[in-house]
C-alpha cells in the first residue's frame, strides 16, 4: 500500500470515527438536541454518562482489535483472538473469583479497591490463559490444535465459572451476571483516568513491535534469521495482550468477536500485510465497530439497552463465517 493510499484510508476511517463519536454522544434514550446546553441535565448526561461510555467504546474497540491482530500474527492464524482462544474466559473466571471474594469480604464498594482488585484478577486470568496457549503453540505447530486447545480451555473455564456462580451468594451472582453481559456504560470518568493512559501506553508498545511482527509473518525460522528475538517477541505480545484484554474485560465484561473479526475485516478491505498499516486500521475499525454496536444497543428501544456483547457477536460472526466460506481468501 502506498503512503498516499494509507493516509487517505486513515483519514476516511478517522472521519467515520469522529461522526460515530458525535452520534454516540448525541443520541440515546434522550437526544441531546432536545435539551438546552444550559440545562443541568444536558451536562449531566454528556459528562457523567455519554462521554465516558463513548471513550470506553473507542478504547475497548481499539485495544481488543490490536490484541487480535498481535495474536493472529504471532500464531500466524487468522482465527486467533482473545475470545476464541479463551483469554477473555480466563479473565472472566478470575473476575468471578474476585467478585465472590469482594462480596464475601464486603469491600466491593470501597472506593477503587473493588475495581482495582477486579482489574488485577482479570489481567492475571488473561495472562494465565495466554501463557498456556503459548506453551501449546511451542509444542504443536498445528493451527487446528492451538484453536482446539483454546476452545477446550474456554469450555473448562466456562464450566469452572458456572461452578463458582452456583455456589456464590445471590448478591455476588447478580453483580457478576450483569458484568458478564458486557457493558460500556459502567465506566466513569475517574476510571478512565487510569484506563485510558494505560491502554494508550500499551497500544504504543504494540507499535514498537511492527518490525518483528512483519518478519514473523514469514515464519519463526525466517524471522529469527532476520534478527528477531522470538522469545522476547512472544513475551512482549503476552504482556501487552494480557494486560489489555484483562483491563478491558474488567471494566466492560468479556466482549466477543471484536478481537478476531476486526483484523480480518482490515485485511479484507485494505489488502495489506504491513503492521504499521494494519495497526492503524485495526485501532480505527475497532473503534468504529464498538461505537456502531453501542449506537445500535441504545437505538433499538428507549425503554432498555441491549448488552453490547449481543451486538458485537451479531456484527462479528458473519465476518468469521464469510472467512470460512472464502477459504481461498488471502488473510491467513
Amino acid at each position: 500500500m502506498t503512503q498516499g493510499k494509507f493516509i487517505f484510508n486513515t483519514i476516511c476511517l478517522l472521519v467515520l470515527v469522529l461522526l460515530l463519536t458525535a452520534a454516540d454522544l448525541c443520541f440515546g434514550s434522550i437526544s441531546l438536541f432536545s435539551l438546552s446546553p444550559d440545562d443541568p441535565l444536558f451536562s449531566n448526561i454528556l459528562y457523567d454518562f455519554r462521554l465516558p461510555k463513548t471513550l470506553t467504546c473507542i478504547l475497548a474497540g481499539s485495544a481488543l482489535s490490536i490484541c487480535g491482530l498481535l495474536m493472529q500474527s504471532l500464531f500466524r492464524n487468522p482465527l486467533a483472538g482473545p475470545y476464541v482462544l479463551g483469554v477473555s474466559s480466563g479473565a472472566s473466571l478470575f473476575v468471578a473469583v474476585a467478585t465472590m471474594l469482594l462480596t464475601s469480604l464486603n469491600i466491593s464498594g470501597v472506593f477503587f479497591v473493588g475495581k482495582g482488585i477486579i482489574t488485577l484478577f482479570s489481567i492475571a486470568g488473561a495472562f494465565f490463559v495466554t501463557l498456556i496457549i503459548l506453551m501449546v503453540s511451542k509444542k504443536s505447530k498445528s493451527n487446528v490444535t492451538i484453536l482446539l486447545v483454546g476452545l477446550m480451555l474456554s469450555q473448562i473455564l466456562g464450566a469452572s465459572q458456572g461452578l463458582i456462580e452456583y455456589i456464590s451468594s445471590p448478591d455476588s451472582l447478580k453483580t457478576f451476571v450483569m458484568w458478564s453481559m458486557g457493558s460500556v456504560g459502567g465506566t466513569t470518568l475517574s476510571d478512565l483516568r487510569f484506563v485510558a493512559p494505560l491502554t494508550l501506553i500499551l497500544l504504543g508498545l504494540g507499535f514498537c513491535l511492527i518490525k518483528p511482527m512483519n518478519a514473523i509473518l514469514l515464519n519463526e525460522q525466517y524471522a529469527q534469521n532476520l534478527g528477531v528475538n522470538i522469545h522476547r517477541l512472544r513475551i512482549s505480545v503476552i504482556v501487552i495482550t494480557s494486560i489489555l484484554v484483562g483491563l478491558i474485560t474488567a471494566f466492560c465484561g468479556p466482549i466477543a468477536f471484536v478481537g478476531i473479526s476486526v483484523p480480518i475485516a482490515s485485511r479484507l478491505f485494505f489488502k495489506t500485510s504491513h503492521h504499521l498499516h494494519q495497526m492503524v486500521f485495526c485501532i480505527l475499525i475497532g473503534a468504529i465497530v464498538m461505537l456502531t454496536a453501542d449506537i445500535i444497543c441504545q437505538g433499538i428501544s428507549n425503554q432498555f439497552t441491549l448488552p453490547i456483547n449481543t451486538v458485537t457477536t451479531l456484527i462479528g460472526s458473519p465476518i468469521v463465517i464469510y472467512l470460512l466460506f472464502r477459504s481461498k481468501l488471502n488473510i491467513g
Partner: protein
C-alpha cells in the same frame, strides 16, 4: 568464510543431548557453491540449522570470518547469513514484494519504514531473479519455483555474504531445478557469495557446484 572446527551437531532430547554427527571440520570460502549431500536423517538439516545459529553445536566451533558464531548478536548474524527453507510462505496478504522487503529487516527502523535506498535494493533483488513482473502478486498465487526465487530474492535483499538453502529443489520440476541452480551459480560467480545448498538431486548438483560436503554413516565426511 565459514570454518567448522571439530564440530559435533545434534539436538536436546528428553534424556539429554543427542549427537547426530561429530568430528566435522571444513572451510568454505566466498565464491564457493557448496553442495551438502547425504542420506535422510544423516544430519544435513541439523548441520544447516547449527550453521545458521538456530540450534547450538554440542561441541566444537563454527567461525564466521574468524569469529565464533556464539559471539555474533542476532542483528549481526542477520547481516552475515541468510536462509532459504522449504516451508511454504503465504497468506496474510503477503505479496512477493513484501517477502523480499522483509530481507531489509536487519537494516530498518523500529516501525519498519523502508527508505529509498531499501526500496532500490528490493527492486534490484527482484530484477536479478526476473521477478519484477510478479512483485505485486500474492505469494499464494505463485508457482513453487517462483516462490523459491522470491525467497532467494529476499536473501539478496538481506545483503549477506553467505546464503544457506535447505532442500530448495524439493517441490520443483526438472526445468525449474536447473533454472534455480543457474541462478545460484551466477550469484557465486558474479557477487562472490558463499552459497551452501542441501539437496538429494546428486546429478543436478554435480553439474553446478564447485565444492561438496557429503555426510556418511559413522561420522565420515567426504569433502571435495
Amino acid at each position: 568464510m565459514i570454518q567448522l572446527n571439530d564440530l559435533e551437531i545434534g539436538y536436546s532430547g528428553k534424556k539429554g543431548p543427542v549427537s547426530v554427527f561429530k568430528h566435522l571440520s571444513s572451510v568454505f570460502n566466498p565464491g564457493d557453491l557448496v553442495g551438502l549431500m547425504g542420506d535422510n536423517g544423516i544430519g544435513k538439516s541439523t548441520l544447516l540449522k547449527t550453521m545458521t545459529g538456530t540450534i547450538k553445536a554440542l561441541s566444537g566451533q563454527i567461525l564466521l570470518d574468524g569469529k565464533s558464531i556464539d559471539r555474533y548478536t542476532a542483528a549481526e548474524l542477520a547481516q552475515y547469513l541468510s536462509i532459504v527453507i522449504t516451508e511454504k510462505i503465504g497468506g496474510f496478504n503477503l505479496t512477493a514484494w513484501d517477502v523480499v522487503a522483509s530481507g531489509r529487516t536487519p537494516y530498518i527502523n523500529l516501525f519498519g519504514k523502508l527508505e529509498q535506498r531499501d526500496k532500490d535494493i528490493i527492486e534490484t533483488s527482484l530484477e536479478k531473479l526476473n521477478l519484477l513482473p510478479l512483485k505485486d502478486k500474492l505469494m499464494d498465487e505463485l508457482s513453487d519455483g517462483q516462490r523459491q526465487k522470491v525467497m532467494i530474492a529476499k536473501s539478496l535483499a538481506q545483503q549477506t555474504p553467505v546464503i544457506i538453502l535447505d532442500e530448495p529443489t524439493a517441490f520443483l520440476d526438472y526445468n525449474s531445478k536447473h533454472r534455480l541452480f543457474k541462478v545460484l551459480k551466477e550469484l557465486c560467480e558474479k557477487e562472490n557469495k558463499l552459497i551452501i545448498v542441501s539437496s538429494h538431486d546428486l546429478d543436478l548438483m554435480t553439474v553446478y557446484i564447485n565444492r561438496s560436503l557429503t555426510l556418511l554413516e559413522g561420522n565420515v565426511a567426504e569433502i571435495r
